[in-house]
Each structure stands twice: as structure tokens, then as C-alpha cells.
Amino acid sequence: MSSLFGNFFANWDRYRKSIEDPGYRDYENMWAMAIDLGSCIGCNACSTACYAENNLATVGEDRFLARQSMGWMRVERYWDEPSLGASDPDSQERGGSFLPMMCQQCNAAPCEPVCPVGATYNNEGGLNAQIYNRCIGSRYCANNCPYRVRYFNFYSYDKDAWPAPLNRQLNPDISVRDKGVMEKCTFCIQRIRAAKDDAAREGRALRDGDVTTACQQTCPTQAIVFGDLQDPESRVRKAWDAHQVRLGTTEQKKTNPALRGYRVFEELNTESCVIYLERVRDTDV
């Protein structure tokens, strides 16, 4: 008990730091993403790669239509307002736009404090980690996630999602979740762990590009950039800097209105670690 409080007072400076101070916790890394919507062509390769990498269950058509699907990464499609004055008012002259949406790895994650058993927490990499073994399936986290990117195992999918020999393609680095467990994107945490182990074995620091997520690796247009925000030389940090998006600020005070970086629901102060670069269109089309 005394050691508990002793520890608390000894580290008081660390605990009382406000969220505005960069690095308000001792993060080893701050994994983050930048997704360029201008490059995204909505091909869904990223979500497919995610299925393969993370042993996501394919739930079948009926359950998909019942909106019980498991895709951790979904490519959302939005249409513009119908063109005014067009002969067919519903015509979509310019096609849809796409928004790949997965867990935003909030640093002030609304999903975390509400979990009754602490199954979801912020780990040392700035990730919103999910402990599958600990989850009791109360689903409060899913309700409190403004992005709706937590997925629940409504059934046991082990039999029908990977009938033999498909079970042989399962990724051995990550578990297959059973019914009643909440799951979500973890920025391919198994790859992060492996890369860290490799770096440690070789006695060097982690370098930018050592970790690639499955979606990033698969994206045909290189729309996804992934890396450590704490590394000033990383590509993702450069993208964040270039677009003047900063953790810990609600309003991004951008000097140049042409800068395209934004975070979804920034006003909720979730401190999400994914920035999107707005899609540029030729308005004269």
C-alpha cells in the first residue's frame, strides 16, 4: 500500500501533466497514420488484407446483412449532393468518395474508461490495445466509440469462417477470437512486436519503415502512411507536420487554408492518431 502511494507521489510530476504537453505519458512510440483520400480509389484491398492478417472471420451473407460483420477496416463510400440542374437529379457525375475507417487509436479514447474490466487500455505505443482474454463482452466500449469501429463476435465463427483447408492460412501470430469477445483494429500490433524484437536482437533502434501494417502494405496507391509520431524523421510525422495537425489541440491552427490534413471528430477531443488528407477534386468537371 505504502509503495503504491509512494510511487504516486514520487511520480506526481508525470501524472499531473496536462494533455497539452506533448508526450504527456511516457510513450515508447506513438503509432500513427496518415491516409491520403486523394489517392484512395476505394478498391477495398486494405480491408481484405486486414481480414487475412488478423484472422478476421468472414461471417457470410446473412450475418453481413444483419450488420454483424467483422471487418476491422471498412471503406466507407459517400456521394456528393446530386448535381443541381442535371437532367437526372440523382445522377452522380463525379462518383463517390471513399473514407477508409478503422480504429483511430485515440489517445483519450472514450472506449477505455467505460470498460468494466479494463480489457481495453492505452499501451506504451500509444495504441488502444484490446485484451481479448480479459473481455467479458459488455459492449459498452462499442457504444461509446464515436467512430463505430469496434466489432463484436456475435457467434463462434471458427467452424464456418475457415473450413479446412482454409484454417491453414490463419496467421499464427494472432489469436482467433471466440464468441462474446470485442475486437478491433490494433495497427497490426503483432507486426509491431515482431519488428521491435528484430531490432532488439540486432541491437539497434526501430527505424521508420520497419513496421508496415497489412493495409499499408497492400494499398495499391500508397494512400496509407504509417509510422511513429515521436520520430521526427518518420514519414508519418512529416505528413502530420506538413499539414500542421498536432496532437493535443482541438482546433488545428493552420496558417495555410490549402492544407488538407484533418482528423475525424476532432471536436470530441479523442486525440485520434489518424489523419486524413482531404480529397482534391477538379471542381470544373
Binding site: 479494463g118 463482452g137 457504444n143 464468441k179
Partner: protein
């Protein structure tokens, strides 16, 4: 005072022996109606059990939940049943403390209702877990794994609050029943009843010391229960208001939920009042003037609830938080609008009918109205849970849902479970408090009412400890 119905709560000339006989009779020889009620309850409960067994084996899928609607009927029924449990406390504890005499013939079943609806409510957070078999992880027990639950989660507060409330209200029910259990014991011939009542009566003989201790204990638990009841439903409200979801993140939720709880509880008291009155032939104890007072109480609480409801709408509307406003508009005009307006009609408008003296005295009409009031409150809970999840922040995830058969089955089962517990209770325990009714009759006859305190002091004198041994209390031969 020309209206005879409003003069007396209870006939003052009932003999004490008749009170005993009437109540004890109600506990024996179940009639056909009783057996039918039992059969219906068991049938409903079986549907629920079947649903739960199926869900346990298969997963939460058949409940009809989906990625946007992770909560639905389970949680709204949880709130509903917790709400039902508040009337017992209100009637017993609060009215006991303010010396409202008229509560005496009817508080026992209201307390039983509290305990049983808590037992029902407690099932829902458990049944809705994806991994029921791990539910004990919410409890901060010591284990060598050194893992504790997350104390910031309202779901954990729930676990504490419900357990505390359940234990205290069961204790309250039991303590208040001890003198009656002794009567039962003295009248039971043999068999399990004798053994049960002997055990439960805790050696009650009714001497002065026992009465005094009993009064103090009962009062202490009553005082303890009132803040507890308020806190329990506030915590249930915090399940919602602590989240960031538009439509849930509302600071008025705790008082609003408490008012709603008292409201639905009072409505349920009216229903059960009429049912017991009819089934158990309690016409002499559950009288019109008492019913009249319960109706007026219900009306007042309904108005408080309506006011808080309107406040909530107003603050959402004028607060101009766009997603929250969207949820409000969708409730009133979207696919859920029939249920929303049903809630307004049953919960806000219908209580005005209680103002009519005619309606207050028409048993059948009142029964229907009380059921409809509770329907309105049930809809209210559903309207809190579901539309918000249909329209969260993220437009891509907007949709509607309808619960699946498992959820409806378990919902039905919960009513069966409650009904079964209640029906068993009324045959095993006295559902009208004999000793308090006797007190009531006695008071009406003998006590001058402007000095209740003095009368009570005379009836139950407090012995000065210094004067002990001066033979104030007769030696009844106790050790």
C-alpha cells in the same frame, strides 16, 4: 367530509384476531386463479430460459444486436426493472419516516416487489454479457493474478450499487416481517412451514426489548435505504450520461431516472394492489382511500417526471449540440416515432386521468391505466437506449434495428420470473403486514393525533440505562 369513501383508510372495528385470520387465510389454499397465474409465469419463464440457453451456446447473434446497436432490450429492461424496484423504498422507507399511516396495509407487497424486481433487474446485465461465464470479473475479489476491475467504469458502479441495494432491501423486507413471521410460526401446525417460520422469526416473542430493538433497526435501515435508492438509480443513469453519445450525455439523467423509477414503481403498485385485492380478498385492508392516495402520489410523481423529461428535450434543443438534436428529432419523427409518441401519450398525458375521482374509484379502469403507465415507462427506457445507438456521431453507421426472438423471449421470461417469485411470496409470507395494520386500527381508535411522538413514547418506553435493574421491564424469564 360528506363523501364516506374518503373518511377512513381502514375500518377501525376490525378485530385483531380477524386481521390475523384474514392474512393467514390468504396464505393457504390457493385458488384456481392462482394456479393459472403460476402456470402462465412458468411458461413465460421457460421461454426466457430457452432463449438464454440458446444464446449461451450460440452467441449473442440471435438477439438481433448488430455493430451499431450493441445494447438494446436487455439494457432497457434492466433500467425498467431497476425502476420498478424504487416504489417499495418510497412507500416503506419514506412514508415510514414521515409517519404516513396509510402505507401500512400495502407496503409489504411493495417491498417484496422491490426485492424481486431487483432480482430480475440484476439478471439483465449478466445475461447481456458476451461471456456470461466471466461475469465475476466485474467484482474486485482478491486473486493471485492481481487483476482488478476498472473502477472508472459505470458498469462497475452498477455492480456495487445493485448488490448493495438488493441486500439492503431484502434485509428491510425481512426485518419488517419478523413480528409477522412469529405470528405465522405460532399458527403453523407442523411441517416445513413451522420449521421455516421458526427459523426466520429469530425467536421473536414480542417483549418490550425486542420491540424497541426492532423499531430502531427498522428505522435505521429505512434511513439508510432512501439515499441508497437515489444513488442506485443515479448510477444506472450514469451508465448513459457518463458516455459521450449524443442523446445519452445529459446531465439531467440522474434525477430524471430517479423520478421515472418512482413513477413506474407507483404504477406497478397500483396494478399489484388491485390484483392482490382481488386474488387474496383483501378488500378490507386494501381500501379505496388508500388506493386514492397512491393514485395521487402517482400523479404527482408523473408530473415531476414529465417536467424533467421536458427539461431534457429543451436543453438538448436549445443547447444546439447538432448530433444530440438530430437524435431528438429522429425520436419524434423518425422510424421510432410511434414508440416515442406512445411514451408521451402513456407517460405524460394519461396520468391526468388520475385526477378524476370517478377513474380513481373504478377498479378495472385503474388497472388498465396502471398497466398503460408502465407500458409508457417501458417505452421510455427503450427510447433512451435504442435511437441513440441508431444515430451516433458517425453517419455511416446510422440505421435502425428490431430485437430478435431471443431478446423478446428473455424479456418475456423476465416477467415470468418476477411473477413467479411474487406469486410464491404471497403464499409463503404474509403480504399484508399484520402487526402494522393492528397498530393502525389501534391508533385510529385510541391515539390523539396531534402528539404522535408522545403516544409512541408511551407505547414503547425507552428505558433509562441508569435506571436499569429498577425493574422497569417485567422479567419475562429471558436469559
Amino acid at each position: 367530509m360528506s363523501d364516506p369513501v374518503h373518511v377512513k383508510d381502514i375500518n377501525e372495528d376490525i378485530a385483531w384476531a380477524k386481521i390475523n385470520a384474514d392474512v393467514l387465510r390468504s396464505m393457504k389454499n390457493p385458488r384456481l386463479g392462482y394456479w393459472i397465474a403460476i402456470a402462465v409465469s412458468i411458461a413465460a419463464l421457460s421461454v426466457g430460459v430457452a432463449g438464454e440457453v440458446y444464446q449461451y451456446n450460440v452467441g449473442m447473434g440471435p438477439a438481433g444486436l448488430n455493430t451499431s446497436h450493441m445494447w438494446d432490450l436487455y439494457i432497457s429492461s434492466f433500467v425498467f426493472w431497476i425502476g420498478m424496484s424504487h416504489s417499495g423504498t418510497l412507500l416503506s422507507a419514506i412514508l415510514h419516516i414521515v409517519h404516513a399511516d396509510w402505507r401500512k396495509p400495502i407496503y409489504r407487497f411493495a417491498e417484496a416487489m422491490t426485492t424481486f424486481s431487483l432480482l430480475t433487474a440484476g439478471l439483465f446485465p449478466i445475461l447481456h454479457l458476451g461471456r456470461v461465464w466471466n461475469m465475476h470479473w466485474v467484482v474486485p475479489y482478491f486473486s493471485d493474478r492481481g487483476i482488478w476491475p476498472n473502477f472508472t467504469s459505470p458498469l462497475m458502479w452498477d455492480a456495487f450499487a445493485i448488490t448493495t441495494y438488493l441486500i439492503s432491501s431484502a434485509l428491510f423486507l425481512f426485518v419488517g416481517m419478523i413480528p409477522d413471521l412469529a405470528i405465522c410460526r405460532d399458527n403453523a401446525a407442523s411441517g416445513w412451514r413451522l420449521r421455516l417460520y421458526t427459523f426466520l422469526a429469530l425467536g421473536w416473542r414480542g417483549d418490550d426489548r425486542q420491540w424497541r430493538n426492532f423499531r430502531v433497526t427498522y428505522l435505521v435501515i429505512a434511513c439508510f435505504l432512501i439515499p441508497l435508492a437515489v444513488s442506485v438509480h443515479s448510477i444506472v443513469a450514469m451508465d448513459f450520461s457518463m458516455s459521450i453519445m449524443p442523446g445519452w450525455h445529459v446531465t439531467t439523467f440522474p434525477p430524471y431516472f430517479v423520478a421515472g423509477a418512482l413513477y413506474s414503481g407507483c404504477a406497478a403498485i397500483i396494478s399489484l394492489f388491485l390484483l392482490l385485492r382481488y386474488l387474496m380478498k383483501f378488500e378490507e385492508y386494501m381500501t379505496f382511500p388508500i388506493l386514492d392516495k397512491v393514485c395521487k402520489l402517482t400523479f404527482v410523481i408523473a408530473m415531476v417526471w414529465s417536467y424533467l423529461n421536458l427539461i431534457e428535450f429543451a436543453s438538448v434543443w436549445y443547447g444546439h449540440d447538432i448530433p444530440a438534436k438530430e437524435v431528438l428529432i429522429a425520436k419524434a419523427s423518425g422510424p421510432y416515432s410511434p414508440f416515442f409518441w406512445g411514451m408521451i401519450a402513456f407517460g405524460m398525458v394519461l396520468p391526468f386521468s388520475l385526477l378524476s375521482k370517478k377513474i380513481r374509484r373504478s377498479l378495472l379502469l385503474l388497472f388498465v391505466i396502471s398497466l398503460l403507465l408502465n407500458t409508457g415507462m417501458w417505452l421510455e427506457r427503450w427510447m433512451i437506449v435504442t435511437p441513440t445507438l441508431s444515430l451516433g456521431f458517425h453517419p455511416f453507421a446510422w440505421n435502425t434495428m428490431w430485437p430478435g426472438w431471443v431478446e423478446w423471449g428473455i424479456e418475456l421470461g423476465s416477467f415470468g420470473w418476477f411473477g413467479l417469485l411474487f406469486l410464491i411470496f404471497v403464499k409463503v409470507f404474509p403480504s399484508v403486514s399484520m402487526y402494522e395494520v393492528k397498530e393502525m386500527v389501534y391508533h385510529r381508535k385510541h391515539v390523539v393525533f396531534d402528539d404522535v411522538e408522545a403516544e409512541i413514547a408511551k407505547l414503547y418506553p425507552i428505558v433509562d440505562p441508569k435506571a436499569r435493574g429498577a425493574a422497569q421491564t417485567p422479567d419475562l424469564g429471558r436469559p
